[in-house]
């Protein structure tokens, strides 16, 4: 191939990948305003096609067939699926985003003034994670396919970003208000726990996914143990350092 044409092709590919669809960047809403409306995560045409396609996933899987049938149901031509440049990944992403955003409506925690034990932060995180896992049930037999799509090199990064957003959403809905470095450790830990549990769930054949619940509880308990140990260690180190400095000061050393 002549070098000029090759370089033009490469430039064209680079340009295409850099001009990401507006929808992909719309989800990067960092500042959550309680007064101003949030823009919707998907454009109207995309939303119409994908919501119709999701209904076909249990039967056809996360494939172009489901997309084409969805386009037809929404009243578009089959070729309209070309407005989704990432193809089946856009369908997987739609499932992830809609289930994440549905969490705040599907899970309500009873507010104060009730008899019985109130759920602590950990309990709420568990409830929210379970709710999100159960939302996978209609497509659970297709989820390994979805994970395989997400694991493709060009889709690893947006998938991880979506996982991070899910962890953030769960902590926020559970009522976490920390804004120091534990913000990062909490979300990283929950992302790891959630993704491990989801993979476990894809091969879980127990009744009503009881094994998945047990798995989640075991992972959360491990996390508490490790977190507790690290917390105690850092508290000890802090105390020892402060004591050493204070002893030196009491001896008259100008520290």
């Amino acid at each position: 191939m002549p070098p000029v044409r090759l370089s033009n092709q490469l430039l064209g590919t680079l340009r295409a990948t850099s001009l990401r669809p507006a929808a992909a960047w719309r989800q990067r809403c960092n500042y959550h305003s309680h007064e101003h409306t949030q823009p919707p995560p998907f454009l109207p045409a995309e939303s119409a096609i994908l919501s119709a396609a999701i209904a076909h996933v249990p039967h056809y899987g996360f494939t172009v067939d489901a997309l084409k049938l969805g386009a037809r149901d929404a009243g578009y031509l089959d070729v309209s699926t070309n407005i989704l440049p990432r193809g089946v990944f856009d369908l997987v992403n739609y499932h992830l985003v809609t289930q994440r955003l549905a969490l705040k409506d599907t899970v309500q925690f009873p507010s104060g003034g009730e008899q019985g034990k109130r759920l602590g932060l950990g309990g709420k995180v568990r409830t929210l994670a379970l709710a999100r896992l159960r939302a996978n049930e209609p497509v659970i037999h297709r989820l390994q396919e979805a994970l395989a799509i997400m694991a493709q090199p060009s889709y690893v990064s947006p998938s991880l970003a979506e996982l991070a957003r899910l962890a953030d959403e769960i902590w926020y809905l559970a009522g976490d208000k920390s804004v120091d470095s534990s913000w990062y450790t909490k979300r990283a830990a929950l992302s790891a726990i959630y993704s491990a549990t989801e993979v476990f769930m894809t091969q879980d054949t127990s009744k009503d996914f009881a094994d998945t619940e047990q798995f989640l509880d075991a992972r959360l308990e491990d996390n508490m143990k490790v977190g507790g140990f690290l917390g105690a260690l850092s508290e000890w180190a802090d105390y020892t350092a402060h004591s050493a400095v204070n002893v030196l000061r009491s001896k008259g050393l100008r520290v």
Binding site: W25, R26, E35, T37, Y172, K177, S181
Partner: protein
């Protein structure tokens, strides 16, 4: 986003340098009629400190309290609707509030670390140090609550700034009273400029929205008021530092330039990371 941000920063900096540091904004009392009182409250600092909360409340009362869609309030036709925020505005608020929280963390730690060595040799500074530390702690609490409320990510450099600020405070206090005051002076100069730029950008948004017949909304109006108050308190700390012989520190130029450069770098990093 950066195109909107950097000209404002450099413009604001140029404007600040040409104006004497004591006068950042008009502080004339408000004497105009009530019809334009809401607009005037955003664009001027009221004369006494009791007014900002009253003005925020009156601004809030004029705006619909929980509606965000303009179609919902049929009765509130007199109140202009709250304008939507663009992605670049959200990004600005995100990074600005993240930097502010990191800055207040550093300030609290600097004062905490400076206090023991300083008070050993100058016990009469105890009330001043306590006053400044308490004000910074109040600012820190305020920005923490904002970050939690608006789901803003704190800076990933949090532990690094924690260590660096403690070291800076302890180091300058061990160098002496003048050095500690010079450190305070340098940090507060940078912080004052920084907050001033943010207030300027937010006022610019308010002006643009008013041209379209929209308002900035209660959240941001309150934020402007709070940023002003915080900026004024930081400049008060600057004045206290200068009163306490910060300019007598040796080596003054080196110390202040290094600290100011460090602050600017830290601000730049915290905006991104």
């Amino acid at each position: 986003m950066s195109a909107a941000f950097s000209p404002t920063r450099s413009l604001a900096r140029a404007a600040v340098r040409s104006v004497p540091p004591a006068v950042f904004e008009m502080r004339a009392p408000c004497t105009i009629s009530s019809a334009s009182r809401q607009k005037a409250r955003i664009h001027s600092t009221p004369a006494n400190t009791a007014q900002p909360s009253a003005s925020a409340r009156s601004a809030a009362a004029a705006l619909p309290s929980h509606d965000s869609t303009s179609s919902d309030h049929a009765a509130a036709d007199s109140a202009p609707p709250t304008g939507p925020l663009t992605q670049s505005q959200r990004d600005f608020l995100d990074s600005a509030l993240r930097v502010n929280q990191a800055g207040e963390l550093a300030a609290v730690l600097i004062y905490s670390a400076q206090t023991p060595p300083l008070l050993r040799s100058h016990p009469h500074l105890r009330p001043l140090m306590k006053h400044m530390h308490d004000q910074e702690a109040g600012h820190f609490t305020y920005f923490n609550s904002l970050l939690a409320k608006h789901r803003i990510r704190p800076t990933a450099m949090y532990p690094v700034w924690h260590a660096a600020a403690t070291l800076l405070g302890w180091g300058t206090a061990v160098m002496g009273r003048e050095a500690a005051m010079a450190c305070t002076e340098a940090v507060e100069t940078e912080i004052g400029t920084h907050y001033n730029e943010q207030v300027r950008v937010l006022l610019d948004w308010a002006e643009k929205m008013e041209k379209h017949g929209e308002t900035l909304g209660e959240e941001l109006t309150v934020l402007i008021g709070e940023l002003r108050k915080i900026r004024d308190e930081e400049l008060e700390h600057l004045d206290h530092a200068v009163e306490n012989d910060s300019k007598e520190a040796r080596p003054y130029e080196l110390l202040t330039n290094v600290i100011r450069g460090g602050c600017r770098t830290a601000i730049w990093i915290s905006e991104k990371v």
